[in-house]
Subunit: 329 residues, 2 copies
């Protein structure tokens, strides 16, 4: 039997936990350890056998880990820590600040290349699988338009913004696409949406502290600049019981649609969509499949930084070439 | 400006015409010629400027064509002609006999490799984009099930079978998936369908010759072994006018769905779907995007036979790496 791919988890939030769970679904992988910035003894992993180490000690694992999966925050942590870890390990991350991806690519590429490592950046579902389909769709249907819809899904950033309002005990925010907007696109009309608020609205479920002022809080949410003011926002007040029962998972999803013409009256519609019970567990599953791919690419000599667009899909599979041609094609 | 990718069309049926149309949508490509088994003077191309040559003369174009797109029949012609053309050109085809793909791969691989050419086999949407998603989905969600639904779409083979019945002047057959079956899959229930007839039915639109026996023909269609007998089949008799108005385009489409679990109670659903006004024009568009990719791969030194699973999606695009990272990821 082939030896297993040795995985390290760097950072232990929702995504890191998703990786810890996901490794169990992939028989060709094993978890070497979880590396945390916190005190390792303060961490309780999901599985008793998972080993917790301090992130200060990653250098000791240089030859014991094949792929280090970076699960620290994308906004503040990855730009600084990514290039450092890429000096020591072949890495994969879910960097998701679209506007800064090219800069991040450059610094990861330098670190990885100089140290003979490979780094797959901006993996997950968006950026990630959605990027793959945006590229595929516009290459196949050059005369057309890409549309992306998010949701129904929990937005962590917007949920946090509501939770910070005094008087709010607990809150979640779901991003919800308008069916009418989706149907317009699917009809092949290639509608123009002047802003994202024409394609989606925001739904909040809020648990109040005792004696909190309902009307004031609803107003405060709806008027919050950037986060809610530009959007159609609906606020529901619910009990803590209902919150715990119905709003503690992290569902998400969305669509990439392309509507394009191949000749004057011939419309063609391509769609990629996800409906996820757990956003972090799915993102983790995508990262693990791509970890398998970059493990193979690294062994074939690829170094530097790459994106999902650079990875042949066959490498994600644990099937042989013959199996793929016989069973998958 | 970069020089254009020089395309040859080998075989001039519906797919060949789709390629002729599709090249106009890709500014980095040009048509060198259409190669036919028939007498070139008997062929009228869609665009006056398209040049028609005899397929006997392809050898004269060895250094004038970058990619030869094989548009001859998949069942009988490709297994014989594919390996011959692959000795002379870098080729792409839509070989679609799933059960024989591995054999076909081997003969194309030998021909292409020995002659320093590259051959992309079994491209299109199924096999092709659907294969890509079957592989992607099962790699990401190893604990799950793939489902494929076809339609609503015109089946050429079944339409021909109906047209051969004496008394039938004209006919089309559409394959239609059952909504209930699709909804069961989308609900995450992972249903088991014991045969394809549980997932789709067949709808025929038939124009009769004068004095033909309606009831006899309906019976003959519904009892036709393999083609219709195993399925729920509905037959409509229509006028030639209605046929010409509503049933002469070649729509098709379908879905690849994967429903899988990442942990005990967490279901994740991924879907890729196509809704096509013209099956041959869309298939041609897929082949052209992949023609761009294998043109680049050939220039980088790849030879032999490959499938869509072996092609990084970035190569399908005419965008630069920086543009892809900035605008697509």
């Amino acid at each position: 039997m082939d030896k297993k791919i040795k995985i390290g988890i760097y950072g232990y939030g929702n995504l890191g936990k998703g990786i810890e769970i996901g490794i169990k679904n992939n028989k060709d992988m094993e978890l070497v350890g979880i590396f945390t910035h916190r005190n390792p003894t303060d961490i309780t992993p999901i599985y008793e056998e998972s080993k917790i180490y301090s992130s200060n000690n990653i250098e000791d694992f240089k030859d014991k880990i094949d792929i280090m999966i970076l699960c620290v925050g994308s906004a503040l942590d990855l730009p600084i820590e990514g290039p450092k870890v890429a000096k020591l390990f072949t890495t994969i991350d879910s960097f998701d600040t679209h506007a800064k991806i090219y800069n991040y690519y450059q610094s990861m590429n330098t670190s990885a290349k100089e140290n003979n490592n490979l780094s797959l950046i901006a993996c997950g579902w968006d950026p990630g699988l959605f990027s793959l389909n945006r590229c595929l769709f516009e290459s196949i249907l050059p005369l057309g338009e890409n549309y992306v819809f998010y949701g129904r899904g929990l937005s962590q950033g917007h949920s946090n913004a509501v939770r910070k309002i005094p008087g709010v005990k607990n809150a979640v925010q779901y991003t919800v696409p308008y069916d009418e907007a989706i149907n317009q696109v699917k009809s092949g009309k290639n509608p123009h949406f002047s802003s994202v608020k024409e394609t989606m609205w925001r739904e909040c479920f809020v648990v109040l502290e005792e004696n909190a002022d309902k009307e004031k809080i609803e107003k405060e949410i709806k008027q919050m600049p950037d986060y809610f003011a530009p959007y159609n926002t609906v606020v529901h007040f619910i009990s803590e019981d209902e919150f715990q029962k119905n709003h503690t998972s992290m569902p998400h999803g969305g669509f990439v649609l392309r509507s394009g013409k191949t000749s004057k009256n011939t419309n063609q519609l391509a769609e990629f969509s996800l409906k996820l019970d757990s956003n972090p567990e799915f993102t983790a599953s995508v990262l693990l499949a791509y970890a398998r791919a970059i493990y193979k690419m690294k062994n074939l000599g690829t170094t530097g930084a790459i994106s999902v667009l650079d990875v042949p899909i066959s490498l994600l599979s644990s099937k042989t070439k013959e199996e793929l041609l016989n069973k998958i094609i």
